[in-house]
Protein backbone atom coordinates (compact mmCIF):
# COMPACT_ATOMS: atom_id res chain seq x y z
CA UNK A 1 0.00 0.00 0.00
CA UNK A 2 1.17 3.50 -0.82
CA UNK A 3 2.39 5.72 2.03
CA UNK A 4 -0.83 7.38 3.34
CA UNK A 5 1.04 10.62 3.94
CA UNK A 6 2.37 10.70 0.42
CA UNK A 7 -0.54 12.76 -0.89
CA UNK A 8 0.44 15.60 1.47
CA UNK A 9 3.60 16.13 -0.54
CA UNK A 10 3.80 19.25 -2.64
CA UNK A 11 5.44 19.49 -6.04
CA UNK A 12 6.29 22.80 -7.69
CA UNK A 13 4.22 23.38 -10.80
CA UNK A 14 5.73 26.74 -11.75
CA UNK A 15 9.12 27.84 -10.39
CA UNK A 16 9.08 31.46 -9.24
CA UNK A 17 11.30 33.53 -7.00
CA UNK A 18 10.99 37.00 -5.54
CA UNK A 19 14.05 38.80 -4.15
CA UNK A 20 15.77 35.48 -3.55
CA UNK A 21 12.70 33.92 -1.92
CA UNK A 22 11.17 30.84 -3.50
CA UNK A 23 7.53 31.55 -4.29
CA UNK A 24 6.94 28.61 -6.60
CA UNK A 25 3.39 27.65 -7.34
CA UNK A 26 2.46 24.14 -6.24
CA UNK A 27 -0.75 22.11 -5.81
CA UNK A 28 -1.37 23.70 -2.41
CA UNK A 29 -1.15 27.22 -3.78
CA UNK A 30 -3.47 26.31 -6.63
CA UNK A 31 -5.99 24.84 -4.13
CA UNK A 32 -5.73 28.07 -2.14
CA UNK A 33 -6.47 30.11 -5.27
CA UNK A 34 -9.40 27.90 -6.12
CA UNK A 35 -10.76 28.45 -2.60
CA UNK A 36 -10.23 32.19 -3.02
CA UNK A 37 -11.97 32.16 -6.41
CA UNK A 38 -14.91 30.11 -5.11
CA UNK A 39 -15.50 32.40 -2.12
CA UNK A 40 -15.15 35.58 -4.13
CA UNK A 41 -17.18 34.10 -7.00
CA UNK A 42 -20.09 33.16 -4.72
CA UNK A 43 -20.20 36.61 -3.16
CA UNK A 44 -19.91 38.33 -6.52
CA UNK A 45 -22.66 36.13 -7.95
CA UNK A 46 -24.99 37.53 -5.32
CA UNK A 47 -23.73 41.08 -5.81
CA UNK A 48 -23.95 40.88 -9.63
CA UNK A 49 -27.50 39.51 -9.50
CA UNK A 50 -28.38 42.45 -7.33
CA UNK A 51 -28.62 42.24 -3.57
CA UNK A 52 -32.34 42.10 -2.99
CA UNK A 53 -34.41 43.01 0.00
CA UNK A 54 -36.18 39.67 -0.41
CA UNK A 55 -33.18 37.36 -0.88
CA UNK A 56 -32.78 34.41 -3.23
CA UNK A 57 -31.39 31.03 -2.15
CA UNK A 58 -27.69 31.84 -2.50
CA UNK A 59 -28.12 35.29 -0.98
CA UNK A 60 -29.99 33.74 1.95
CA UNK A 61 -27.20 31.22 2.58
CA UNK A 62 -24.48 33.89 2.43
CA UNK A 63 -26.50 36.28 4.59
CA UNK A 64 -27.08 33.53 7.15
CA UNK A 65 -23.35 32.79 7.22
CA UNK A 66 -22.52 36.50 7.54
CA UNK A 67 -25.06 36.98 10.32
CA UNK A 68 -23.76 33.87 12.08
CA UNK A 69 -20.20 35.26 12.03
CA UNK A 70 -21.38 38.75 12.94
CA UNK A 71 -23.22 37.42 16.01
CA UNK A 72 -20.07 35.56 17.00
CA UNK A 73 -17.89 38.67 16.56
CA UNK A 74 -20.39 40.84 18.50
CA UNK A 75 -20.56 38.28 21.30
CA UNK A 76 -16.81 37.96 21.88
CA UNK A 77 -15.44 41.30 20.73
CA UNK A 78 -18.37 43.54 21.63
CA UNK A 79 -20.91 45.46 19.56
CA UNK A 80 -18.88 48.65 19.46
CA UNK A 81 -15.64 47.10 18.20
CA UNK A 82 -17.28 44.39 16.10
CA UNK A 83 -17.64 46.33 12.81
CA UNK A 84 -13.88 46.99 12.79
CA UNK A 85 -12.92 43.30 12.95
CA UNK A 86 -15.92 41.74 11.22
CA UNK A 87 -14.53 41.84 7.63
CA UNK A 88 -11.28 40.18 8.72
CA UNK A 89 -13.01 37.48 10.77
CA UNK A 90 -15.58 36.68 8.10
CA UNK A 91 -12.88 36.49 5.41
CA UNK A 92 -10.89 34.16 7.65
CA UNK A 93 -13.94 31.94 8.21
CA UNK A 94 -14.83 31.66 4.53
CA UNK A 95 -11.21 31.20 3.45
CA UNK A 96 -10.51 28.36 5.90
CA UNK A 97 -13.90 26.76 5.21
CA UNK A 98 -13.32 26.92 1.45
CA UNK A 99 -9.77 25.50 1.82
CA UNK A 100 -11.12 22.65 3.99
CA UNK A 101 -13.95 21.87 1.55
CA UNK A 102 -11.76 22.09 -1.56
CA UNK A 103 -9.57 19.43 0.06
CA UNK A 104 -12.56 17.08 0.14
CA UNK A 105 -12.63 16.89 -3.66
CA UNK A 106 -10.67 13.81 -4.77
CA UNK A 107 -7.44 14.77 -6.50
CA UNK A 108 -7.30 18.25 -4.97
CA UNK A 109 -5.09 19.37 -2.10
CA UNK A 110 -6.06 20.30 1.47
CA UNK A 111 -3.95 23.37 2.09
CA UNK A 112 -5.08 23.53 5.73
CA UNK A 113 -3.28 20.22 6.27
CA UNK A 114 -0.02 22.17 5.98
CA UNK A 115 1.15 23.29 9.41
CA UNK A 116 3.08 26.13 7.88
CA UNK A 117 -0.15 27.56 6.40
CA UNK A 118 -2.23 27.20 9.57
CA UNK A 119 0.82 28.45 11.51
CA UNK A 120 1.03 31.53 9.27
CA UNK A 121 -2.60 32.41 9.99
CA UNK A 122 -2.26 31.64 13.72
CA UNK A 123 1.00 33.60 13.95
CA UNK A 124 -0.54 36.54 12.11
CA UNK A 125 -3.54 36.49 14.47
CA UNK A 126 -1.23 36.30 17.50
CA UNK A 127 0.84 39.29 16.32
CA UNK A 128 -2.35 41.14 15.48
CA UNK A 129 -3.77 40.57 18.99
CA UNK A 130 -0.52 41.86 20.54
CA UNK A 131 -0.65 44.91 18.29
CA UNK A 132 -4.32 45.58 19.19
CA UNK A 133 -3.58 45.08 22.89
CA UNK A 134 -0.61 47.45 23.04
CA UNK A 135 -2.22 50.08 20.80
CA UNK A 136 -5.42 50.04 22.88
CA UNK A 137 -4.03 49.79 26.43
CA UNK A 138 -0.32 50.66 26.13
CA UNK A 139 1.82 48.99 28.80
CA UNK A 140 -1.30 48.27 30.84
CA UNK A 141 -1.87 45.49 28.30
CA UNK A 142 0.76 43.47 30.18
CA UNK A 143 -1.78 43.13 32.98
CA UNK A 144 -3.31 40.39 30.82
CA UNK A 145 -0.55 38.19 32.28
CA UNK A 146 -2.03 38.64 35.77
CA UNK A 147 -5.48 37.12 36.12
CA UNK A 148 -7.87 39.14 38.31
CA UNK A 149 -8.21 38.11 41.97
CA UNK A 150 -4.79 36.43 42.15
CA UNK A 151 -3.00 37.03 45.51
CA UNK A 152 0.09 39.24 45.17
CA UNK A 153 2.44 36.48 46.31
CA UNK A 154 1.25 34.34 43.43
CA UNK A 155 1.93 36.97 40.75
CA UNK A 156 5.57 35.91 40.09
CA UNK A 157 4.33 32.38 39.51
CA UNK A 158 1.31 33.37 37.48
CA UNK A 159 3.12 35.63 35.00
CA UNK A 160 5.25 32.85 33.45
CA UNK A 161 2.25 30.52 33.40
CA UNK A 162 0.09 33.10 31.67
CA UNK A 163 2.95 33.94 29.30
CA UNK A 164 3.28 30.30 28.28
CA UNK A 165 -0.50 30.07 28.01
CA UNK A 166 -0.48 33.05 25.66
CA UNK A 167 2.27 31.58 23.53
CA UNK A 168 0.41 28.27 23.42
CA UNK A 169 -2.61 29.95 21.88
CA UNK A 170 -1.26 30.34 18.31
CA UNK A 171 0.42 26.94 18.52
CA UNK A 172 -2.79 25.21 19.55
CA UNK A 173 -4.74 27.18 16.97
CA UNK A 174 -2.39 26.10 14.19
CA UNK A 175 -1.92 22.51 15.30
CA UNK A 176 -5.65 21.89 15.88
CA UNK A 177 -6.63 22.73 12.31
CA UNK A 178 -3.60 21.05 10.76
CA UNK A 179 -3.98 17.87 12.85
CA UNK A 180 -7.69 17.53 12.17
CA UNK A 181 -7.31 17.95 8.44
CA UNK A 182 -4.26 15.67 8.23
CA UNK A 183 -5.77 12.95 10.39
CA UNK A 184 -9.08 12.95 8.55
CA UNK A 185 -7.51 12.75 5.13
CA UNK A 186 -5.03 10.10 6.25
CA UNK A 187 -7.83 7.92 7.61
CA UNK A 188 -9.79 8.41 4.39
CA UNK A 189 -6.74 7.48 2.33
CA UNK A 190 -6.02 4.38 4.40
CA UNK A 191 -9.63 3.17 4.30
CA UNK A 192 -9.96 3.82 0.58
CA UNK A 193 -6.64 2.08 -0.14
CA UNK A 194 -7.82 -0.90 1.89
CA UNK A 195 -11.09 -1.11 -0.01
CA UNK A 196 -9.23 -0.88 -3.33
CA UNK A 197 -6.61 -3.48 -2.43
CA UNK A 198 -8.96 -6.01 -0.81
CA UNK A 199 -11.36 -8.28 -2.66
CA UNK A 200 -14.99 -7.26 -3.08
CA UNK A 201 -16.03 -9.71 -0.36
CA UNK A 202 -14.02 -7.81 2.26
CA UNK A 203 -13.44 -4.49 0.50
CA UNK A 204 -17.01 -3.22 0.91
CA UNK A 205 -16.41 -2.77 4.63
CA UNK A 206 -13.56 -0.19 4.48
CA UNK A 207 -15.37 1.43 1.55
CA UNK A 208 -18.47 1.84 3.69
CA UNK A 209 -16.35 3.39 6.39
CA UNK A 210 -14.82 5.70 3.77
CA UNK A 211 -18.30 6.99 2.97
CA UNK A 212 -19.11 7.51 6.67
CA UNK A 213 -15.75 9.17 7.40
CA UNK A 214 -16.25 11.38 4.35
CA UNK A 215 -19.50 12.68 5.86
CA UNK A 216 -17.70 13.19 9.15
CA UNK A 217 -14.89 15.05 7.36
CA UNK A 218 -17.44 17.34 5.78
CA UNK A 219 -18.73 18.21 9.23
CA UNK A 220 -15.16 18.59 10.53
CA UNK A 221 -14.39 21.03 7.68
CA UNK A 222 -17.18 23.30 8.98
CA UNK A 223 -16.43 22.70 12.66
CA UNK A 224 -12.72 23.45 12.31
CA UNK A 225 -13.37 26.65 10.35
CA UNK A 226 -15.84 27.63 13.08
CA UNK A 227 -13.39 26.80 15.90
CA UNK A 228 -10.53 28.67 14.22
CA UNK A 229 -12.78 31.72 13.77
CA UNK A 230 -14.35 31.65 17.21
CA UNK A 231 -10.95 31.33 18.89
CA UNK A 232 -9.69 34.28 16.87
CA UNK A 233 -12.68 36.27 18.15
CA UNK A 234 -11.96 35.12 21.72
CA UNK A 235 -8.29 36.15 21.48
CA UNK A 236 -9.13 39.56 20.00
CA UNK A 237 -11.91 40.03 22.57
CA UNK A 238 -9.47 39.16 25.38
CA UNK A 239 -6.93 41.78 24.36
CA UNK A 240 -9.66 44.42 23.89
CA UNK A 241 -11.36 43.85 27.25
CA UNK A 242 -8.25 42.51 29.04
CA UNK A 243 -10.10 40.58 31.76
Amino acid sequence: MENPLHHFELHPLVHLSLMGFDISINEGVVAMWVALAVVFGLFMLVVKNGVRLIPGKLQSVLEMALEFVRDMVEEFIGKEEAPKYFPFIVTLFFFILACNLIGMIPGSYTITSQLVVTGTFAGFIFVMTLFIGFSKHGLKFLSILVPPGVPKVMIPVMIPIEFISMLARPISLAVRLFANMTAGHTILFVLFSLSMSASLMVGWMPFGFTVIINGLELAIAFIQAYIFTILTCVYIGDVIHLH
Partner: protein, 173 residues
Amino acid sequence: MPQFEQIEVFQSLIFWSVVSFALLFFLLKKYAFPPILQALEDRENKIRTEIGDAEKLKQEAQELKANLEAELKSTHEKAKTIVQLATSEAKKIQEKTLDETRAKNKQMQNEMEREIEISRNKLMGEVRGFTAALTIASTEKFLKKTMDDADRKRLTEESIEEVIKEMQQRQMN
Protein backbone atom coordinates in the same frame (compact mmCIF):
# COMPACT_ATOMS: atom_id res chain seq x y z
CA MET B 1 5.51 13.73 7.48
CA PRO B 2 5.82 15.73 4.27
CA GLN B 3 4.39 18.77 6.06
CA PHE B 4 7.54 18.88 8.25
CA GLU B 5 10.06 17.46 5.79
CA GLN B 6 9.42 19.65 2.73
CA ILE B 7 11.04 22.76 4.15
CA GLU B 8 11.63 24.13 0.64
CA VAL B 9 7.90 24.81 0.13
CA PHE B 10 7.51 26.78 3.38
CA GLN B 11 8.53 30.14 1.90
CA SER B 12 6.18 29.70 -1.01
CA LEU B 13 3.26 28.57 1.19
CA ILE B 14 3.74 31.41 3.69
CA PHE B 15 4.01 33.97 0.89
CA TRP B 16 1.00 32.74 -1.05
CA SER B 17 -1.07 32.23 2.09
CA VAL B 18 -0.55 35.85 3.09
CA VAL B 19 -1.03 37.15 -0.46
CA SER B 20 -4.11 35.03 -1.14
CA PHE B 21 -5.75 35.91 2.15
CA ALA B 22 -4.90 39.59 1.76
CA LEU B 23 -6.27 39.56 -1.79
CA LEU B 24 -9.50 37.85 -0.72
CA PHE B 25 -9.85 40.24 2.22
CA PHE B 26 -9.36 43.25 -0.06
CA LEU B 27 -11.74 41.98 -2.76
CA LEU B 28 -14.50 41.01 -0.35
CA LYS B 29 -14.18 44.20 1.69
CA LYS B 30 -14.26 46.37 -1.41
CA TYR B 31 -16.81 44.64 -3.64
CA ALA B 32 -18.84 42.07 -1.73
CA PHE B 33 -19.41 43.09 1.89
CA PRO B 34 -20.70 46.67 1.43
CA PRO B 35 -23.76 45.85 -0.70
CA ILE B 36 -24.64 42.68 1.23
CA LEU B 37 -24.17 44.29 4.65
CA GLN B 38 -26.10 47.32 3.44
CA ALA B 39 -28.94 45.04 2.32
CA LEU B 40 -28.90 43.33 5.72
CA GLU B 41 -29.02 46.68 7.49
CA ASP B 42 -31.79 47.93 5.19
CA ARG B 43 -33.80 44.82 5.86
CA GLU B 44 -33.25 45.10 9.60
CA ASN B 45 -34.33 48.75 9.49
CA LYS B 46 -37.34 47.89 7.34
CA ILE B 47 -38.37 45.07 9.66
CA ARG B 48 -37.82 47.30 12.71
CA THR B 49 -39.85 50.11 11.09
CA GLU B 50 -42.60 47.74 10.02
CA ILE B 51 -42.78 46.16 13.45
CA GLY B 52 -42.98 49.66 14.92
CA ASP B 53 -45.70 50.62 12.45
CA ALA B 54 -47.56 47.39 13.15
CA GLU B 55 -47.34 48.06 16.90
CA LYS B 56 -48.61 51.59 16.33
CA LEU B 57 -51.45 50.35 14.13
CA LYS B 58 -52.31 47.71 16.69
CA GLN B 59 -52.42 50.33 19.40
CA GLU B 60 -54.56 52.58 17.19
CA ALA B 61 -56.87 49.68 16.39
CA GLN B 62 -57.19 48.88 20.09
CA GLU B 63 -57.99 52.52 20.87
CA LEU B 64 -60.49 52.58 18.01
CA LYS B 65 -62.04 49.37 19.24
CA ALA B 66 -62.29 50.74 22.77
CA ASN B 67 -63.85 53.95 21.43
CA LEU B 68 -66.31 52.02 19.29
CA GLU B 69 -67.22 49.76 22.17
CA ALA B 70 -67.76 52.80 24.42
CA GLU B 71 -69.83 54.44 21.67
CA LEU B 72 -71.82 51.25 21.17
CA LYS B 73 -72.43 51.03 24.90
CA SER B 74 -73.51 54.65 25.04
CA THR B 75 -75.77 54.12 22.00
CA HIS B 76 -77.28 51.06 23.67
CA GLU B 77 -77.92 53.08 26.81
CA LYS B 78 -79.41 55.91 24.77
CA ALA B 79 -81.61 53.47 22.88
CA LYS B 80 -82.67 51.90 26.17
CA THR B 81 -83.51 55.32 27.60
CA ILE B 82 -85.42 56.23 24.44
CA VAL B 83 -87.38 52.97 24.62
CA GLN B 84 -88.09 53.57 28.32
CA LEU B 85 -89.18 57.13 27.60
CA ALA B 86 -91.34 55.97 24.70
CA THR B 87 -92.89 53.25 26.87
CA SER B 88 -93.56 55.70 29.65
CA GLU B 89 -94.96 58.26 27.18
CA ALA B 90 -97.14 55.60 25.58
CA LYS B 91 -98.37 54.58 29.02
CA LYS B 92 -99.13 58.19 29.86
CA ILE B 93 -100.95 58.67 26.55
CA GLN B 94 -102.81 55.45 27.13
CA GLU B 95 -103.81 56.53 30.63
CA LYS B 96 -104.74 59.98 29.39
CA THR B 97 -106.84 58.50 26.60
CA LEU B 98 -108.42 56.12 29.06
CA ASP B 99 -109.18 58.98 31.47
CA GLU B 100 -110.58 61.08 28.66
CA THR B 101 -112.68 58.19 27.46
CA ARG B 102 -113.83 57.55 30.98
CA ALA B 103 -114.65 61.24 31.46
CA LYS B 104 -116.45 61.32 28.14
CA ASN B 105 -118.37 58.20 29.05
CA LYS B 106 -119.20 59.69 32.40
CA GLN B 107 -120.33 62.91 30.75
CA MET B 108 -122.35 60.96 28.21
CA GLN B 109 -123.83 58.90 31.04
CA ASN B 110 -124.67 62.04 32.98
CA GLU B 111 -126.24 63.61 29.90
CA MET B 112 -128.18 60.46 29.27
CA GLU B 113 -129.29 60.30 32.88
CA ARG B 114 -130.32 63.94 32.72
CA GLU B 115 -132.19 63.36 29.49
CA ILE B 116 -133.77 60.28 31.01
CA GLU B 117 -134.65 62.32 34.09
CA ILE B 118 -136.17 65.04 31.92
CA SER B 119 -138.07 62.48 29.85
CA ARG B 120 -139.13 60.74 32.99
CA ASN B 121 -140.30 63.98 34.57
CA LYS B 122 -142.11 64.87 31.38
CA LEU B 123 -143.64 61.44 31.20
CA MET B 124 -144.53 61.55 34.85
CA GLY B 125 -146.20 64.93 34.29
CA GLU B 126 -148.19 63.52 31.44
CA VAL B 127 -148.99 60.41 33.44
CA ARG B 128 -149.97 62.55 36.37
CA GLY B 129 -152.35 64.64 34.19
CA PHE B 130 -153.78 61.62 32.45
CA THR B 131 -154.18 59.69 35.69
CA ALA B 132 -155.83 62.68 37.34
CA ALA B 133 -158.34 62.99 34.59
CA LEU B 134 -158.87 59.26 34.55
CA THR B 135 -159.26 59.03 38.30
CA ILE B 136 -161.69 61.92 38.42
CA ALA B 137 -163.74 60.58 35.58
CA SER B 138 -163.82 57.06 36.96
CA THR B 139 -164.49 58.18 40.51
CA GLU B 140 -167.28 60.47 39.34
CA LYS B 141 -168.82 57.68 37.49
CA PHE B 142 -168.28 55.28 40.41
CA LEU B 143 -169.71 57.52 43.03
CA LYS B 144 -172.24 59.12 40.67
CA LYS B 145 -171.81 62.32 42.40
CA THR B 146 -169.94 65.46 41.79
CA MET B 147 -167.00 66.17 44.00
CA ASP B 148 -166.00 69.52 45.19
CA ASP B 149 -162.63 70.94 44.33
CA ALA B 150 -160.96 69.95 47.60
CA ASP B 151 -162.02 66.28 47.33
CA ARG B 152 -161.02 66.22 43.72
CA LYS B 153 -157.57 67.51 44.54
CA ARG B 154 -157.02 65.09 47.44
CA LEU B 155 -158.28 62.19 45.46
CA THR B 156 -156.11 63.11 42.54
CA GLU B 157 -152.99 63.39 44.70
CA GLU B 158 -153.67 59.98 46.29
CA SER B 159 -154.22 58.38 42.90
CA ILE B 160 -151.04 59.92 41.54
CA GLU B 161 -149.03 58.74 44.52
CA GLU B 162 -150.37 55.23 44.11
CA VAL B 163 -149.64 55.16 40.41
CA ILE B 164 -146.12 56.49 40.95
CA LYS B 165 -145.45 53.96 43.68
CA GLU B 166 -146.66 51.20 41.48
CA MET B 167 -144.48 52.35 38.60
CA GLN B 168 -141.40 52.64 40.83
CA GLN B 169 -142.03 49.19 42.19
CA ARG B 170 -142.27 47.82 38.69
CA GLN B 171 -139.08 49.60 37.68
CA MET B 172 -137.22 48.15 40.65
CA ASN B 173 -138.42 44.65 39.72
